[in-house]
Amino acid sequence: MNRINQKLSEDKKMLSLYFTAGYPAINDTVSILTQLQESGVDMVEIGLPFSDPLADGPTIQESSTAALKNGMTTQLLFDQLKDIRNTIHIPLIVMGYFNPMLQYGVEKFCAQCQEVGIDGIIMPDLPLAEYEAEYKAIFENYGLINIFLITPQTTDDRIKQIDAASDGFIYMVSSASTTGNISGFGNIQSDYFKRIAAMNLNNPQVVGFGIKDSETFIAATEYQKGAIIGSAFIKHITENGADSVADFVKTIRK
């Protein structure tokens, strides 16, 4: 069983964190992963930086620009993750944009993921139709779960279509927004969370975008299986240093 599915089957709300590989320093990747696991985080999205991250707000844009300036590349990330499964046992997802994957070679990328022990992939700009027509067989061949997004604007028909194409969880974007751009959750979010929960989808849902503290984590996981934090975590390590991971996690799960 894929580590993602295994984790989803556990009877607890999942806390997942995103960080940009190569940020703040080029070789922080393994150390951040280790601290995240030790702090009790359930799953991690490792961000592969891209020059033009159009679904991201300023925080992740800036961490991506800095990571690229530090010299992060697709190959370097795989090299850094080479022995990661000797010590890290929680599910790992690579999250990025499709162009770097395309240039590396989709099949080679997937093969490398499998080799180092990556469990899933999130490519926001690889849409469902393209994935199913061109790449699904390759992802599956290397045991990788592809995670799709839905938003408050996604129609019920399309949610069902995405649910049918998914085998893991559905990434619920909390609002019509880029990352790190939401001040808090209101009625729109709680109605949306309830509406999706009531659809009884095959796949559990994990909420992302706008989760930044214990309060928003609790709100996001009232009806859903888990939540993902990105921008708020990156802000924390920007301000407090890459060895302060545990301090942040403690503020979320008190």
């Binding site: 020059s51 679904a55 849409p127 938003t151 019509a176 927004s177 880029t178 751009n181």
Partner: protein
């Protein structure tokens, strides 16, 4: 009506592909907006009331049809029969307004009340601000912070027209980053906002929709050439290509006429191998930018690189997917022209014909120095824009 009907074999298929290029590589957050447009744009464009309003505005407001002018002295110098399609005489000074008129009518019919756009040199921003003023709609234009400094007169024009100009402070702070910011705005405002893209780029259906609005250029050219030469088809059509909207408009009705040679002129900047160039067909590889699979200037690792050209309208790291297909299929002949050659060609047209062209357009004019034609070849060049906006660059370059 068959919404999948393709007017030429070089048009997008139902998935938005031109051969290997195109598609809609967009995050799910944009799917509802793009799908709303995709499912309705053909039907809306084909409504008689839309056509009537579009053509009335092109006539009375834009000043169409633009003349097809036989450039006698230029022709004599280069030994070919050269016609200039005078898009520079359009209201706002370039072909860009053909598209913004079309898209503002589209936005109204989709019930949108807020318009966003990206701009590089500011021409598309001005054309968008103009139609928003015309229709009384809110207008926000994203422009790279560096371009805002370089193009102060166009920033002032947009402000006079009532638009809000927002600086793109991310990345390299130029056109591609302004486009990223406009896309981010659209993600954050998915219900009331229409994004007026300025070229034949972006996710399907934008390349196809913008090409259809610009197709009026070749439609008029056919009728005008028939009158002047007794035939609709020239031997060649020539246009500069950044994203490629003026070229798409001039090529459109000639794509399936194999006897018409298609020449696309890209900006070589300081030279193809100088590291400061925007010649995408020579330097680009297949990749994804702004939701479209196309030829793209990028690093080995798939990071998008910053192009360079003296002309702010040509320094886009990608090219419209239709043009990528024309290049790969061999249907189009691609030539690149350096800054220096373009500047000289601009000066020359000014002196020979009394027309000061935009520097983008000067690239298309420059090919006559090296690309030889036959005496009786009829060549139509799209004179896509006027040079007023470039006076400072001309002044600095020539020490005028």
């Amino acid at each position: 009506m068959n919404t999948l009907e393709r007017e030429t074999s070089y048009q997008a298929d139902e998935r938005g592909y031109y051969g290997d290029f195109g598609g809609a590589f967009i995050p799910e957050m944009l799917y509802p907006n793009v799908e709303e447009l995709r499912s309705q744009y053909i039907q809306i464009m084909e409504e008689p009331s839309f056509q009537e309003e579009f053509h009335q505005l092109l006539k009375d407001y834009v000043g169409r049809p633009t003349p097809l002018y036989y450039a006698e002295r230029f022709s004599k110098k280069y030994g070919a029969k050269v016609y200039l399609k005078r898009e520079d005489l359009c209201h706002t000074g370039a072909h860009k307004v053909n598209n913004t008129i079309g898209q503002i009518l589209m936005a109204q019919r989709l019930g949108k009340t807020r318009i966003i756009a990206e701009t590089g040199a500011g021409q598309h921003g001005v054309a968008t601000a103009t139609v928003c003023a015309l229709m009384g709609l809110e207008c926000i234009v994203y422009m790279g912070a560096i371009d805002i400094e370089r193009q102060a007169p166009n920033v002032a024009r947009m402000k006079m027209l009532g638009a809000t100009v927002k600086p793109a402070e991310s990345g390299s702070k130029t056109l591609k980053d302004a486009t990223n910011e406009a896309i981010r705005d659209w993600i954050n405002n998915p219900v009331d906002t229409h994004y007026i893209i300025g070229s034949v780029v972006g996710p399907h259906p934008y390349p196809d929709m913008v090409a259809r609005f610009q197709a009026v250029i070749s439609k008029e050219t056919k009728a005008q050439l028939l009158e002047k030469e007794g035939r609709e088809n020239p031997d060649y059509v020539v246009a500069c290509v950044g994203g490629g909207s003026n070229a798409a408009g001039l090529y459109y009705h000639y794509l399936d006429q194999p006897e018409v040679g298609i020449i696309a002129v890209e900006a070589a900047g300081k030279g193809i191998d100088s590291g400061e160039s925007a010649a995408t067909s020579a330097l680009g590889r297949e990749g994804i930018i702004h939701g479209s699979k196309t030829l793209l200037m990028q690093t080995d690792d798939g990071q998008i690189t910053e192009p360079y050209s003296i002309s702010a309208g040509l320094d886009y790291p990608g090219v419209g997917p239709m043009h990528a297909h024309l290049f790969r299929s061999g249907r189009g002949e691609f030539i690149s022209v350096t800054d220096d050659a373009a500047m000289q060609a601009g000066l020359q047209l000014s002196k020979l014909e009394g027309i000061i062209p935009a520097i983008e357009t000067s690239h298309a004019l420059a090919i006559f120095e090296t690309r030889k034609f036959k005496e009786d070849d009829v060549v139509v060049i799209n004179l896509s824009g006027r040079g007023d906006k470039d006076l400072n660059t001309y002044i600095e370059y020539f020490g005028l």
